[in-house]
């Protein structure tokens, strides 16, 4: 039975996980896998089955945040070792693809802004649905999305 849930929600949250992890499909797969196993282990703590989706999303979201934190640590070490290059400068070579430039620009967002922007614009969900998934008020959520757009508009101007 759990297989059915994994299949349904892997399809539903796959885009979110991939976008949260810079489009890295393998990292997204790892995050989802870990999230589903954790959810299985703590199914008893899902007190309201009607809110299973929101409960599971929170586990997936936490797992994506954890992977981002781990990667940030690795990236900063690598950058220090290489006297690193700002990721944004790669845009000069990749002007042709505005989608890829947006992906780089999204690195300038806070994790909360990125999450809100992805759920709103990449996934096309309504503010009401996202507010429930993230357990935040709609006004606070809109503010995250607005700030994300402001930042992305500015970055796109710089990069394109």
């Amino acid at each position: 039975m759990y297989r059915v849930l994994v299949e349904r929600y892997r399809a539903e949250f796959g885009r979110y996980a991939s976008a949260m992890l810079d489009g890295d499909k393998d990292d997204a797969a790892d995050a989802l896998q870990e999230a589903f196993i954790r959810a299985y282990d703590s199914l008893a703590s899902c007190r309201d089955p009607n809110r299973f989706k929101a409960w599971l999303f929170r586990i997936v979201s936490n797992q994506c945040h954890n992977v981002r934190k781990r990667r940030r640590g690795h990236l900063s070490l690598e950058r220090a070792a290489e006297h690193g290059e700002e990721p944004a400068s790669r845009a000069d070579d990749e002007r042709a693809d505005i989608g890829e430039v947006l992906g780089m620009a999204m690195n300038a967002l806070t994790t909360e802004q990125r999450e809100a922007f992805i759920l709103k614009h990449v996934e096309g969900r309504s503010y009401a649905e996202i507010a429930e998934m993230l357990a935040v008020g709609e006004d606070a959520l809109k503010m995250r999305v607005y700030r994300a757009r402001d930042e992305l508009k500015k970055r796109l101007e710089e990069l394109l």
Binding site: M1, Y2, R3, V4, L5, V6, E7, R8, R10, A11, G14, R15, A17, S18, A19, G23, K25, A28, A29, L32, Q33, F36, I37, Y40, P49, N50, F52, K53, D97, I98, G99, E100, V101, L102, G103, A105, M106, H121, V122, Y127, Y146, R147, R149, D150, E151, L152, K153, K154, L156, E157, L160
Partner: protein
């Protein structure tokens, strides 16, 4: 940080939310907003998402854990254990064991009745049907096949659009759903009972007796 001059106006934000018209918005601001939307659309097209390898890995991990737990229980059962019991409790335990032995003997005398049911078939062939003329593929997933979405493929009658398949089921209650084109899970519209699976979805129910389907 974003300065005030970098911020999108309230009208543009409403436009990006799909709640306001483009009319009346400064043309350069409108172009910026459209560029952001185009970039998002292109970004979304490029996104690769994890596939069914995640499902297999999760189920394998959970299955492996269940095996470990079984082995650990088996190990506990077969390995010697030392129990310390106070003499008074030991005497009480002896009484319980003697009573259990007497009851066990009387239960064993009834055992032949159970062998009669062994003559009945262990599985019953059950035919499932779904009318789905526009589907390219229909399969059956249920509690009897670990909910594998491609476990039982149904066959289509091209004249009627009816998909059918026959499955051997053990007597008892089974839950199931049809899977259309590998993606859409639907309950059986003709099932006698539908139950909430506890996760916001509905499963169909079939009850199989030792001599055939009791309710479907």
């Amino acid at each position: 940080m974003t300065n005030d001059s970098d911020k999108l106006s309230a009208e543009v934000q409403r436009y990006l939310d799909g709640e306001g018209p483009a009319d009346g918005i400064d043309s350069s601001a409108c172009a910026e907003a459209d560029r952001l939307l185009e970039a998002t659309a292109r970004y979304s097209e490029r996104l690769e998402t994890p596939g069914s390898e995640v499902d297999r890995a999760v189920m394998a991990a959970i299955g492996a854990r269940a095996t470990e737990e079984r082995e650990s229980l088996w190990g506990w059962l077969v390995n010697p254990h030392v129990f310390r019991v106070r003499p008074a409790l030991a005497a009480a335990a002896m009484v319980v064991l003697v009573v259990a032995g007497v009851l066990g003997g009387s239960l064993r005398e009834r055992a032949p009745a159970a062998t009669e049911s062994a003559a009945l078939p262990s599985t019953i062939l059950v035919r499932f049907e779904l009318v789905a003329p526009t589907a390219d593929r229909v399969s059956l997933a249920g509690s009897f096949n670990d909910w594998l979405p491609d476990g039982v493929q149904l066959t289509k009658n091209p004249d009627t659009g009816v998909w059918t398949g026959t499955v051997p089921l053990r007597p008892g209650e089974h839950q199931y759903m049809f899977v259309i084109d590998g993606a859409e899970w639907i309950p059986d519209p003709d099932a006698h009972a539908q139950v909430d699976d506890g996760f916001g979805q509905t499963n169909s129910v079939i009850v199989v007796g030792p001599r055939g389907v009791i309710r479907s």
